[in-house]
């Protein structure tokens, strides 16, 4: 088994350095953010702080990945 990388461990511990939104706001904005991403628009400029939150919150990051994959997959059909 691969041993954990120190940088990753520090990342988990210290979280993102830049300003971030919270989990509730992330959920509120997630659908809009994903559609902007899939449209090739600047989602980070439209929803500041969400990208940083995804870096610091594994649960919200998983849900972002799932929504992006689900919606992106349907658009590709």
């Amino acid at each position: 088994m691969e041993r954990p990388d120190l940088k990753q461990a520090l990342g988990r511990l210290l979280g993102p350095a830049e300003p971030e939104i919270g989990c509730d706001e992330c959920f509120e904005q997630l659908d809009r953010y994903v559609e902007l991403e899939l449209a090739g628009a600047d989602a980070d400029a439209a929803v500041p702080g969400l990208r940083a939150h995804l870096a610091g919150c594994p649960a919200c990051r998983e849900e972002h990945e799932s929504l992006r994959a689900l919606v992106g997959g349907e658009q590709a059909l």
Binding site: R3, P4, D5, L6, K7, Q8, A9, L10, G11, R12, L13, L14, G15, P16, A17, E18, P19, E20, I21, G22, C23, D24, E25, F27, E28, Q29, L30, D31, R32, V34, E35, A46, V47, P48, G49, L50, A55, G56, C57, P58, A59, R61, E62, E63, S66, L67, A69, L70, V71
Partner: protein, 230 residues
């Protein structure tokens, strides 16, 4: 200090409420809202279609997580997906008036199905498992890869971090940080055990992280910005 969506926001967090014109609903989203706000058979059929949509999202989430849940059988996963779709349906119908058309209705609804399934799967994975909360028993970054040429500096950083976690944080902040950031407990699992919410726990984690960063800054210890806190 302000409040956004129930989360206290300070100068390290941002208010992402965007001042933008009210979006114009696309025809499909308008049809969804109209039929779900209707009555009789039209509404019943719309609710049934919405449940199918949410079940699709919940099954998608179950399928994505299946490799990490080898102890769950197909029937278990389908039960979880059905429960998630049922709960998501209640949430979506309760929050219908909050849909403003910032995305398509289906994208907005999908996130409820995915969330319900993800939370249930995380909780199922930790069912019956003890949650390590105490800092006395953990060994910070045991086994972490440290490059030989950087080991002295990093050892100092790790020792300082351990000391800071013990000295700078409140007992609650320490328990939350240890569980979430060191022991990998999913935030929904910890929220359930501590009878609180994901948002409240993340606020505690955020405050603890900010304290640690501030403390390390005061000591003049340089930190790299983590790209992703896995």
């Amino acid at each position: 200090m302000s409040t956004v969506a129930g989360v206290r926001v300070d100068n390290r967090q941002v208010d992402s409420t965007i001042a933008s014109p009210e979006p114009v609903l696309d025809p499909e989203s308008r049809e969804w809202l109209s039929s779900l706000r209707g009555s009789g058979r039209e509404r019943d059929e719309a609710v049934a279609r919405l449940h199918e949509l949410l079940l699709r999202a919940a099954r998608f989430e179950c399928a994505r997580r299946r490799p990490t849940l080898p102890h769950l059988r197909g029937n278990d996963l389908d039960d979880i997906a059905q429960q998630a779709a049922d709960d998501a349906l209640v949430s979506v119908l309760a929050k219908l008036d909050t849909f403003r058309g910032a995305s398509r209705f289906t994208t907005w609804a999908y996130k409820f199905g995915l969330l319900e399934a993800a939370v249930k799967l995380r909780r199922r994975a930790w069912q019956g498992r003890e949650i390590p909360l105490e800092p006395e028993t953990w060994s910070l970054f045991a086994g972490a890869e440290i490059e030989p040429d950087e080991s002295a500096e990093q050892s100092e950083l790790l020792e300082t971090l351990q000391q800071a976690i013990a000295d700078v944080l409140t007992p609650h902040q320490r328990r939350v940080l240890v569980a979430l950031a060191l022991n990998g407990v999913p935030i929904d699992v910890l929220a359930e055990r501590l009878n609180t919410t994901r948002g409240a726990l993340y606020k505690t984690l955020h405050d603890a992280r900010r304290k640690l960063r501030g403390h390390l800054d005061e000591l003049g210890l340089s930190l790299e910005t983590p790209e992703e806190a896995n």
